[in-house]
């Protein structure tokens, strides 16, 4: 048996649709947890309204945010997975199906970067990355549409033999530059090392990690904890109007590189769009979240 393009097409459209109408359960819990500890009354009030908004969207099957973003898919392909047709085509078709059928309709956010013309389709859309997973007989697809508010403030800088203090300062600096604008509290993904492109990809992947899960290596987990504590002392707070809750989580990924060390910082806004599904060779579909 092989994975049919029709399955990929249907699943990617569904993942996108679901990502617009609900927040991940870990994110809801994290917002509620912050609501119990933030010292600012306005911040606690805003956090409560955030959860209320997410619950209302899920209940009414409506959008949480009108900026449905641009479609972003992360595809992890098992080396034992088999395909009966074109995969990239299927994902593109799935997005076209979504645009054609979704209610209420999506605003036209896909933008030609050179002419600023906007629509629902464009060169290279959906933004999709593929990775191989040795030994696996399935395909994991994560959908995390990217909107303007958080996408605008992501940043990358390349250092030469930086110490950890330099890397951490750059993360804090990037968070302060973003300030109120990416709809905090945000999930902050940090990618360190590798090359220019690898660091950005690692930062993006770090935003997709479940909230509460720390990096397996103590050195990195220590960095994540200290960065989150530091960022939550900056005072931006929910929607940037003040408070202790600026970060939902700081997740750091790294890989080895040369002495030049790219540091990339990515943001997910408080609604933390993230849906996942797994497709097996027999076309069984498991909705992971």
């Amino acid at each position: 048996m092989s994975i049919q393009p029709e399955t990929v097409r249907r699943v990617t459209a569904k993942l996108y649709d679901r990502s617009l109408r609900g927040i991940p359960s870990d994110t809801r819990s994290a917002l509620l947890a912050l609501e119990t500890i933030d010292r600012s009354e306005t911040a606690r009030h805003t956090l409560r309204i955030m959860v209320e908004s997410a619950d209302a969207a899920a209940r009414d099957s409506h959008f949480i945010c009108s900026d449905a973003g641009v479609p972003v898919f992360f595809v992890r392909v098992g080396t034992q997975a088999r395909f009966a047709g074109d995969v990239r085509r299927a994902i593109t078709d799935g997005f076209a199906d979504l645009v054609g059928n979704i209610q209420p309709p999506l605003l036209p956010h896909v933008t030609h970067p050179l002419t600023l013309e906007r629509g629902h389709a464009g060169k290279g859309m959906p933004l999709t990355t593929f990775d191989l997973v040795d030994g696996s007989d399935c395909v994991d697809i994560t959908c995390s549409p990217k909107a303007l508010g958080s996408g605008r403030w992501e940043a990358l800088e390349i250092f030469s033999f930086p110490d950890r203090a330099t890397i951490e300062r750059y993360v804090i600096e990037t968070v302060c530059k973003a300030g109120s604008q990416p709809c905090p509290p945000v999930v902050i993904g940090v990618g360190v090392g590798g090359s220019f492109d690898y660091a950005a990809k690692m930062a993006k992947e770090a935003t997709l990690r479940p909230i509460g899960e720390r990096h397996a290596e103590p050195l990195v987990a220590d960095m994540e904890r200290r960065l989150a504590a530091a960022i939550n002392k900056t005072g931006f707070g929910p929607m940037g109007t003040g408070g202790d809750s600026t970060a939902l989580s700081v997740n750091v990924n790294y890989c080895a590189g040369h002495g030049f060390t790219p540091v990339a910082v990515a943001f997910n806004c408080w609604i933390n769009r993230r849906t996942r599904a797994r497709i097996y060779n027999d076309n069984r579909v498991e909705i992971v979240e």
Partner: protein, 213 residues
Amino acid sequence: MSIRTHRMHFPLSADDARSLRAGDQLILDGEIVVTAGLPTHQRLLKALGGAEPLPLQLHGGCLFHIGSYSQEAADGSFQVLYINPTTSTRFNPYMPALIRQLGLHAVGGKGGLDAASVEAMKETGCVYLSFLGGGCTLLSQALRGVLEIGWPDMLTHYRVVRLKVEGLGPVTVAIDAHGNSCYADAQAQASASMDAILSELDAGRAEFCGNRS
């Protein structure tokens, strides 16, 4: 200190705007005007310069950075399916002139405006309202009707739309008409506490052995 929550009818008067303080919560009834387009702001300034008429009467009113999905029905009427704020900071270059020339008493969206806008707001008696980013369902529930669609030739969220709302919010008064800004306060707090934050970050860093040569 407990939060003050107000309920006010829009368009807001300068007196009403000046009675609000940064940090207050506000629930809106009445008429609001929204747009989320950068090209719209550029076109508005050109219109004020005489290039074309304004898309609708905007003087003494409000202008919120809120995107809306408007749809034309078969009979030519418009329906708005949903609304939601967008980041205001990208309109910073245009807002001081728009606030002054239109005599606005309320602006808003999310993310705030810069010091130049805050100055203009003091002059006209104008507040900045922070709508919940990701508040699409809740905010859209307050829609009661579409009163006017300005510049329907533009993309839906770029249009200038006058809406009737009831119970919109609560929203946070994030910048008041007296120059107080929650955003500027947060930035100032971050700057003022940065040395302490970085010292603590450094002090907590555990030593992990490594060969750095």
